[in-house]
């Protein structure tokens, strides 16, 4: 049993800490505050060799409590954080950074900016070099806030411009912000990491000032530099940029191809498929089929009419042309065991018909081709559709009757 009757300082603070942790987990903020009061004296015995010592505990737990406690105010929070900053020099910049985040989350953007600027000017012997990473982050976030300001001023100017007003001071300030932002944003995205927001903002700045080359280079590096972690968004940004600047289909396709490899279920796969279907090259069209099948493997796409219509269009076109049936066969091979239950069950047939006629139409078409007109799904939908005397279903029925043997060839 844990009821030891001995007690020493260290043990009693450990026990106290466990009470605090329990209270925090159960969101009992008053109780957590109460026990934290008794825990604070462990600062007077800070075992600096421990992984997470009392001062860090108090900083983190105190922050949690002050964030959630009903009687806590921003003023209290700020005064608490200022104390925490003096508590551990080795942690100074980290505390500053998190303080800034907290201020931002509470909409106090100017205060956050001030904090970050102050932190940026901090110097403390060898600690400055040791905390280099945090310093970079601080500069980066300050750069982000500079961008935010720039953006605001840009909008003001655009408004004024429409009204015919001109404001030189705002314009100048805007350019100032641009410069400050650009410097810091550029710095941070050099470091391998995930910097989506920073990259977007930086590219936005560059594009506005017409430096498209730099923008493209930045995006390229962000997407293709192997030192950076694999990031689907990098490719999305690059694709969007290239689209904006009317680049060749070839480049667009190559960007999206990588995205397909990383995230086959990405929403851009529809665009990708459409692009590929239009291509003159056979390989590209085959890729398109591959892409759309892969996307529909994911549950999130089950009821996506657009996706089904893409697939339907493509398989229909293949069946009519009677060329490249082997493409369908290849895709269907690995899916014939589970797609029927996944997409084409009788239950789904009923539901799709009830909820979304277009969806059921597209799916029926695909089902008919892949599984034959006697499959559950097709039968049900076709029957319902013809009963309801919807024209396209009658057409579909005729089409299926004509091309029925196809599925036999697919399943062999």
């Amino acid at each position: 049993s844990s009821h030891e009757h001995k007690l020493n300082f260290k043990k009693s603070k450990e026990v106290c800490l466990s009470y605090i942790q329990d209270a925090v987990l159960q969101k009992q903020w008053k109780r957590a505050a109460e026990f934290l009061t008794f825990y604070t004296e462990s600062l007077e015995k800070d075992f600096s060799t421990e992984y997470m010592g009392p001062s860090e505990m108090i900083w983190r737990i105190g922050t949690e409590i002050l964030c959630h406690h009903s009687h806590s105010s921003m003023k209290e929070f700020n005064s608490f954080i200022e104390q925490m900053k003096t508590l551990g020099i080795k942690r100074y910049l980290k505390v500053c950074l998190e303080h800034a985040f907290h201020l931002l989350c509470n909409g106090l953007i100017d205060e956050a900016y001030q904090n970050l600027s102050l932190a940026e000017s901090w110097r403390f012997g060898e600690q400055t070099a040791i905390q280099d990473k945090e310093m970079k982050l601080i500069q980066a976030y300050r750069g982000l806030l500079d961008y935010y300001r720039w953006s605001k001023q840009k909008n003001i100017l655009l408004e004024h411009g429409q009204d015919g007003f001109e404001d030189l001071s705002i314009e100048q300030e805007m350019h100032n912000c641009f410069r400050k932002a650009a410097v810091n944003l550029k710095e941070i995205i050099k470091i391998p990491g995930v910097w989506d927001l920073f990259v977007k903002c930086y590219v936005d700045l560059l594009e506005f000032y017409g430096d498209h080359n730099e923008a493209r280079q930045v995006l390229n590096e962000y997407a293709y530099d192997s030192k950076f972690p694999a990031n689907p968004n990098a490719h999305v940004y690059l694709y969007q940029f290239m689209k904006r600047h009317g680049e060749s289909k070839k480049s667009l396709i190559s960007a999206l191809k990588i995205l397909h490899d990383i995230v086959p279920s990405h929403e851009l796969m529809i665009d990708f498929n459409i692009m590929l279907q239009k291509s003159k090259k056979r390989k590209k069209r085959q890729l398109g089929l591959e892409v759309i099948f892969a996307a529909l493997d994911y549950a999130g796409w089950k009821e996506n009419v657009k996706a089904w219509s893409c697939l339907a269009r493509q398989v229909k076109q293949i069946v009519i042309s009677e060329k490249h049936l082997d493409w369908i066969k290849q895709e269907w091979n690995s899916r014939k065991d589970w797609w029927p239950a996944f997409h084409f069950s009788r239950y789904l047939a009923k539901r799709n018909w009830q909820e979304n006629e277009s969806l059921s139409y597209e799916k029926a078409l695909v089902a008919g081709i892949l599984l034959g007109k006697d499959c559950k799904y097709f039968k049900y939908i076709s029957h319902q559709g013809c009963k309801a005397q919807v024209k396209r279903f009658r057409i579909l029925k005729k089409f299926m009757n004509k091309h029925d043997p196809v599925y036999l060839r697919l399943s062999s």
């Binding site: 009821h3 106290c16 109460e34 009061t37 007077e44 060799t49």
Partner: protein, 574 residues
């Protein structure tokens, strides 16, 4: 002691102290009329404690402090503790006569005062915090870290932020400082030669004095009062006068970082009594509070058990002769007899009685309880029969509540006080800043604690649990009858329960493993564990201590049966 006259009767110089504080000759036992003068133990600048030719106390120039010796510090501590005990109702004689005489005797025996300083030993008055210039020339002066590791003090003061951090190098020019004159020398002393004074030992002194006077306070009571703050122990240096500056190694000596441990205090007390060459303590007779008959009654009441059980505890006590004055009275230095822990003994007797009557094998006691319940249902008149199950429910409920409170108190225990401690003047500002921050944070989060009342210091009470027969909910079992579980045989009342199981078949030797038995909760019935847990809570000691004592009592009780049979059964027929 400094009473060196020859005895009028036998011309010996061999004095002891009577209860009344008079001197008596130990050789011929004649009592003199000489009594101890009441000693003024106030701290004054030219106290008489130091008969060593040191000259008048020097006033330190810089910080208004003055020279003081470690033993003076302890003397102050003892004085404060004695005053607190007096406030709790202990007779004034304890402070004015007994305790201070013990202390003086100790000082004399350990050659810290009242004697000629032995040749060759000089006090190196190490310079205090401020100056540090004359340090370099001492080659054999121990380094700071060496001294820190020597002391057996409980807490890990070495890593205190107010101390030099263990990672930084300690240069020779750092003054090995202490506010006291002999702080570092003190820590260097070999413990075995002279029983070195420590904070836990102050409690040993107190207990020894209480025992000498046979005051109605057990050691577990005393230690509980210490933890509850009624007796100065933690941060007692707060009460030192301004002039006595504490710093450096003094902290190692006077700062406490853990609750006093029963075993440690008790063992030290025995060592002390032997060291001081004390005679046999005043007899513990059956009218004394510490006698098992009395203590059993007290604990039976507190445990909400029927008064009738007292007959049984007395019978057991008598049977195994642990009520004899010779068994109970402390004779210092006598290593052959096992020293009695009165509180543990009493509760162990109660446990044995419960086992005798209820067996406590997780089966029989419930059976008995069912019978009693039936009887109580059908027979409303006459007293109620004691139902083990009901008692168990009531006690468990209260025990759980109290244990939970105690657990929270442990978590909320505050160790620091307003008076700052720092190792050296260099660290002073850092320590003060930290303290300020702690106070700020306490205020800030204290306000967010909601309407929590600050924990009032409970009035000290000998009883932690109390039950009243006036309660209409029937939660008091004092008046309940044991009739249902007793039977008459040959005119003598015996238990209906014919069986008994021994906690252990063979006792260990204390010397080899420190214990007489080894208690593991899983090895024993839950009812037994529950009973141990109850008394463990009341006494604030580990269940295994009580278990050890239970084993000893059982072995005394069933001695004959154990000796007879070569094969041991773990259950016996009585």
């Amino acid at each position: 002691r400094d009473f060196n006259e020859r005895c009028a009767q036998c011309s010996e110089v061999n004095w002891g102290l009577t209860d009344g504080g008079r001197f008596y000759c130990r050789s011929c036992h004649s009592v003199t009329e000489r009594t101890r003068e009441v000693v003024n133990t106030d701290f004054v600048s030219n106290t008489r404690i130091h008969t060593i030719s040191k000259g008048l106390r020097k006033q330190k120039e810089t910080d208004g402090g003055c020279e003081w010796y470690v033993c003076e510090g302890f003397q102050l501590v003892l004085k404060k503790q004695a005053e607190a005990l007096e406030a709790l109702g202990v007779c004034p004689q304890m402070k004015d006569e007994i305790l201070c005489n013990f202390w003086r005797c100790y000082l004399q025996k350990s050659k810290q005062a009242y004697c000629n300083r032995p040749a060759g030993e000089t006090i190196k008055a190490l310079s205090v915090c401020q100056s540090s210039t004359d340090m370099d020339s001492e080659p054999d002066r121990p380094s700071v870290l060496h001294l820190l590791s020597l002391s057996e003090s409980e807490g890990d003061l070495q890593t205190d932020c107010s101390f030099v951090s263990s990672t930084s190098k300690v240069s020779e020019s750092t003054s090995v400082c202490s506010g006291s004159v002999d702080g570092s020398l003190y820590l260097m002393k070999n413990r075995k030669e002279t029983l070195r004074m420590t904070m836990p030992m102050t409690l040993s002194f107190c207990y020894m004095a209480l025992l000498w006077l046979r005051e109605p306070m057990t050691l577990s009571d005393l230690l509980r009062f210490v933890v509850e703050g009624h007796i100065p122990y933690l941060n007692v240096f707060q009460h030192f006068p301004e002039k006595m500056k504490l710093c450096g190694l003094d902290l190692k000596i006077f700062c406490v970082e853990s609750w006093p441990v029963y075993e440690e205090v008790h063992n030290k007390m025995l060592e002390l009594a032997a060291f001081l060459d004390l005679p046999r303590f005043p007899d513990i007779t059956d009218s004394c509070f510490l006698h098992p008959d009395m203590l059993c009654m007290k604990y039976l009441m507190e445990a909400n058990l029927p008064d009738e059980l007292h007959n049984w505890t007395c019978r057991v006590v008598k049977k195994i002769c642990i009520g004899e004055a010779d068994f109970l009275t402390l004779v210092p230095g006598n290593k052959s007899t096992r020293k009695v822990k009165y509180d543990v003994l009493a509760v162990a007797v109660i446990v044995v009685v419960l086992k005798l009557l209820f067996l406590l094998d997780d089966h029989y006691e419930w059976l008995l309880s069912d019978f009693a319940e039936e009887r109580n249902k059908n027979n409303k008149e006459g007293g109620l029969y004691f139902e083990f199950q009901k008692w168990y429910k009531v006690i468990k409920c209260s025990l759980d509540v109290e244990q939970k409170k105690l657990d929270e108190k442990r978590a909320k225990y505050l160790w620091r006080c307003e008076k700052p401690l720092f190792y050296s003047a260099k660290k002073k500002s850092k320590v003060l800043k930290r303290r300020q921050m702690v106070v700020n944070l306490q205020n800030q989060f204290g306000k967010l604690s909601g309407s929590v009342q600050p924990a009032e210091k409970a009035n000290p009470s000998s009883f932690q649990l109390s039950w009243s027969e006036e309660n209409t909910d029937g939660s008091c079992f004092h008046g309940h009858s044991l009739k249902g579980i007793l039977q008459e045989k040959c005119g003598l009342l015996t238990a209906m329960n014919p069986d008994y199981w021994l906690c252990t078949v063979k006792l260990c030797t204390e010397k080899s493993c420190g214990h007489l038995a080894h208690y593991r909760e899983v090895d024993f019935p839950q009812s037994y564990h529950f009973v141990l847990r109850l008394f463990s809570f009341l006494l604030r000691i580990e269940p295994s201590y009580i278990h050890d004592e239970v084993c000893v009592i059982e072995h005394k009780l069933f001695n004959k049966k154990l000796c007879k049979k070569p094969k041991y059964n773990t259950s016996l027929r009585k």
